[in-house]
Symmetry: C2
Subunit: 157 residues, 2 copies
C-alpha cells in the first residue's frame, strides 16, 4: 500500500491548532499540511469522535482543540485514527495447517508484537505538550522568540 502519513500529519495539525485563537478551517489546515480539505476532514474525523478535537460548522467555524495539549497523548491520537496498521510486514496465511509455516509465522508475529508494544509504549508516554516544548526548542535554536510568527514553513496560505 502507500505509506500512511496520518499520524505525523495530525500531530502537525494539532500543533498549529494550539497556536491559533480562532478555529482553523479544513482549507487552512490543508494548506499547512500540503494536502486537501477533504483529506483533512476525513483524517480528523476520528479525533473529533474521540473528543480530542471539536469541529464547528458554518461561518467562522472550523477545528479546535477540545483539551489542553497536556491532556492529549500520542497514543490516544493513534487510537483515534483507528490504530492503523503499523507494519508493512506481516504473515500471510495465519491459519495454515503446515506446522513449519506456523512456526515461521509465530516467530515473525512475536517480533512484530514486541515492536508494536514498544511503539505504543512510547506514544503513551508522550503528550502533545511535549511536542510543543520540542517545537519551542527548535524555535529558540534559530534565535527567535516565542512571540515571533510560528508558522514559518513551506506551506502556502
Amino acid at each position: 500500500m502507500r505509506q500512511d502519513n496520518r499520524l505525523p500529519r495530525v500531530l502537525h495539525a494539532l500543533l498549529h491548532l494550539s497556536d491559533m485563537k480562532d478555529p482553523a478551517t479544513s482549507e487552512q489546515l490543508a494548506g499547512m499540511l500540503n494536502t486537501n480539505a477533504a483529506v483533512v476532514r476525513r483524517t480528523m474525523a476520528g479525533l473529533r469522535d474521540q473528543g480530542i478535537l471539536i469541529s464547528i460548522k458554518g461561518h467562522g467555524g472550523g477545528w479546535q482543540l477540545a483539551r489542553p495539549l497536556e491532556k492529549i497523548t500520542l497514543a490516544e491520537i493513534y487510537e483515534a485514527l483507528g490504530a492503523p496498521t503499523l507494519f508493512a510486514l506481516g504473515c500471510n496465511n495465519e491459519n495454515s495447517q503446515c506446522l513449519m509455516e506456523k512456526a515461521a509465522n509465530a516467530a515473525t508475529a512475536r517480533a512484530l508484537q514486541k515492536a508494536s508494544e514498544t511503539f505504543i509504549g512510547i506514544l503513551s508516554s508522550v503528550t502533545m505538550a511535549d511536542l510543543a516544548v520540542d517545537f519551542e526548542k527548535r524555535l529558540a535554536e534559530l534565535g527567535l522568540s516565542p512571540d515571533d510568527p510560528h508558522h514559518s514553513g513551506d506551506h502556502h496560505h
Copy 2:
C-alpha cells in the same frame, strides 16, 4: 502498498529445506509456499548472495542451506532480504521548513526508531534452530513423533 510477506515466507522455506536431503527446486518450494517459482527465486536471491543458501543449476539442482540452522539468525535473513521497509507508517516531508512539522515528524520517527530496534533486537536473538525447536514442539503436541512426515499442510505437491 501491499503487505510484505517475504520474511515469514523465507523462514517457512528454510524450515522445509532443513528437512530435506536433496535440493528443493523453486517449483517445489513454490508449492509449499503457495506461490510461484519466479517469486521463490526472486525472494531467495538475496539469501544466496548473503551465503545463507546455495542454489544449484541443472538437473537435480535447486536450493540448499549453506549452513546449519544454528548459525542463521532471523536478523541475517531480514538483512539478506534487503531489510525491507518495516513500517506502513512514516513521515512524509522529512525536510520541511515548518518547525511544527519537524517536531511532529521527530516524535513519530523516535517511536518508529525504538520499535525498529526492538524488532531487530528480537530477530538477532533468534536462530532458525529455535524455529525448528518450536516446530518440533508443535509436532509433539499433535502426538506425532519427529519421524512422521513433517510436511502435513495445505500445500499441494
